[in-house]
Symmetry: none
Subunit: 402 residues, 2 copies
Amino acid sequence: MKNIVLLIMDGLGDNPNPEFFGKTALQAAYRPNLNALCRKSICGLMDPVGPGIRSGSDTSHLSILGYSPERYYNGRGPFEALGLGMELYPGDVAFRANYAYVSDGYVLDRRAGRISDTCELSRAVSMEIEDVKITVKSGTEHRAAIVMHGPGLSSMVSDSDPHRENERPMEIRPLDKKAEKTARILNEFIKKSREILNKHPVNIKRMNQGLMPANEILIRGAGMVPDLEDFYDRYHLKAACISGTPLIKGICRLAGMDIINMDNLTGRVDENYSGIFEKAHELAKKYDFIIINIKGTDIAGHDRRPDIKRSVIENVDSAISKIINDLDDLLIIVTGDHSTPCNLGDHSGDPVPIMFSSNNIRSDNVMLFDETSVRNGSLRIRGLDVMKIALSLSNRSEKYGA
Amino acid sequence: MKNIVLLIMDGLGDNPNPEFFGKTALQAAYRPNLNALCRKSICGLMDPVGPGIRSGSDTSHLSILGYSPERYYNGRGPFEALGLGMELYPGDVAFRANYAYVSDGYVLDRRAGRISDTCELSRAVSMEIEDVKITVKSGTEHRAAIVMHGPGLSSMVSDSDPHRENERPMEIRPLDKKAEKTARILNEFIKKSREILNKHPVNIKRMNQGLMPANEILIRGAGMVPDLEDFYDRYHLKAACISGTPLIKGICRLAGMDIINMDNLTGRVDENYSGIFEKAHELAKKYDFIIINIKGTDIAGHDRRPDIKRSVIENVDSAISKIINDLDDLLIIVTGDHSTPCNLGDHSGDPVPIMFSSNNIRSDNVMLFDETSVRNGSLRIRGLDVMKIALSLSNRSEKYGA
């Protein structure tokens, strides 16, 4: 049995870049170590969720870890909250929220003048109602997430957000009988938060400056925190997550993995690359499965910066040297969670290269690890296939039949 | 966002032909434009419905347009009727029918001596019963289709066709309670049509000539016209169909597309090839999605004529030059709806080549567009994946997750 390191370079897949004379960032990168791994790998292309599906990091990580997004991805709220680093537990209900400006009962600006910092407001409106704890956490600008924690909650409630301006915030309605408590508490929360926000010093100061007060929280995107089957129970793998990205850490924590804290884990382009792989090398002695998420590739894609994407990949390539001599004991999987082509500045539905690298496996003899070269490999898979292949190649899967 | 042209060469896929020293018609064709598109494409093989499924044009077009045949293909009747150019609406029930010869209550010939023209008879037996309009339309030889239009109809009725000779035509039985009205009206229709047919001049003339009269309509293959979700509602694509083939036009009309009328659109081998692509070039300015069906390739396959199939492909190749310079604004998809190998003279379950061609996408660098060369591309997909990939590559798909 081998231990498994799953390296996900977020948004790895790309399109041809004119800066690189039609090469992708991965093709343009100096990547001797990734190529060396490729030569000892079974490789190919993977559709993280399905062909042409333009998946997010949330749905694609669920899929790659073997949790069907169709089953587990119900509503954006919980993943928005995880992305803000909030603690969520099965049975919690979470929402996306906007700070908005309401006057005479009408929403005049759904973004409260794109207010830049609402942290104090979010602290002020976090409260308990009945036996439910409501936590509000601010995101960027006017955005926030709300988590309800307590017994008997349901995500079957309507939005209060009218989704356009010059309309009234709507009363939250239960969409079935079991959601009555949740709707009642949310309406009470909205009423109380209005009182708090209208007289909050931050808003009074804004009004004195002629700025719109953020005096209403508009709620949408209700979702039940998914009860992911424990990763260990499912795969018999003691698992750890190394990531600087709250969303990824949140998903891995929901799956019951240990979340590794270490210095300078930023989730940014200036990542602690060598530290991450040193840590992985060390952890591989006591964990069966280590997932590493490198966010810089995705950030560079969103920022339309192929030069930065290339340099992130080169940093990873250099740092991965810490583990590439462990292939007798390790199965190293390298892939992306989706494509974030620099020419689009956003996720696309294109597949990503993937390789399963180890000693004593049937190698595909592909010489270069990139989007086009791995087409000559033997895999044309979906995210949901990854864990099955990983278990098989690490000599851990149970026989199906006899 | 790019607009999309989906070119379906009906029955495109083929097997090696001795006439071409083992090449397929597509491989044997001079096709510089299709090959040029291929070099700028993401390509591969597609199973229109699924691996090994020997699909018809109806099931495969449904699948390629994203309508699962499993869900929407219920009974041959509606598609037979669409193929005859009949107008059908959701809620209508349609049937396949045979003109037969019945004597003393027994079916003596299910094809009424392979009668060649039944158009007058079909007009004579089209009628209204209660609040239901029954339209009969003749196909080739003894074949016909029947459409019932009116409220409260059901396809859950048995056949009147005994499916063999020397048996009595059967009474139509309702297979559930909701089908009682439909069965009652059909039995009434059969009774009345017998009276009309037995004294119709066409049949009297046939009897005088010693030919079998077509004095009974045998009914089978009941199917409810599928309520296809509107193509625009589903994909936010304003869509047009260019095809000379009634079945394809019918399916596209059911999906709410505009059906383009133009001169010399024959649906035959002698098609108005250049006119079609000139029209597509023009329509691409106001439509988001244009589907073109070229029927000649399929006809040549059924006729076991690889030479004709090759020449149809060469005509398409020449005509497609009208749009291949639009790849900055267009995504051009070229494929077949199924294989109609000339050596079989009928559809096979083999996959078809497919390419998604545009500028600024991740090209697979495959040099030739044909059944074997595209295996080096990155796609190994099913018909139901096509629209997802098309939306993604035209930068139109919504993100699944964040």
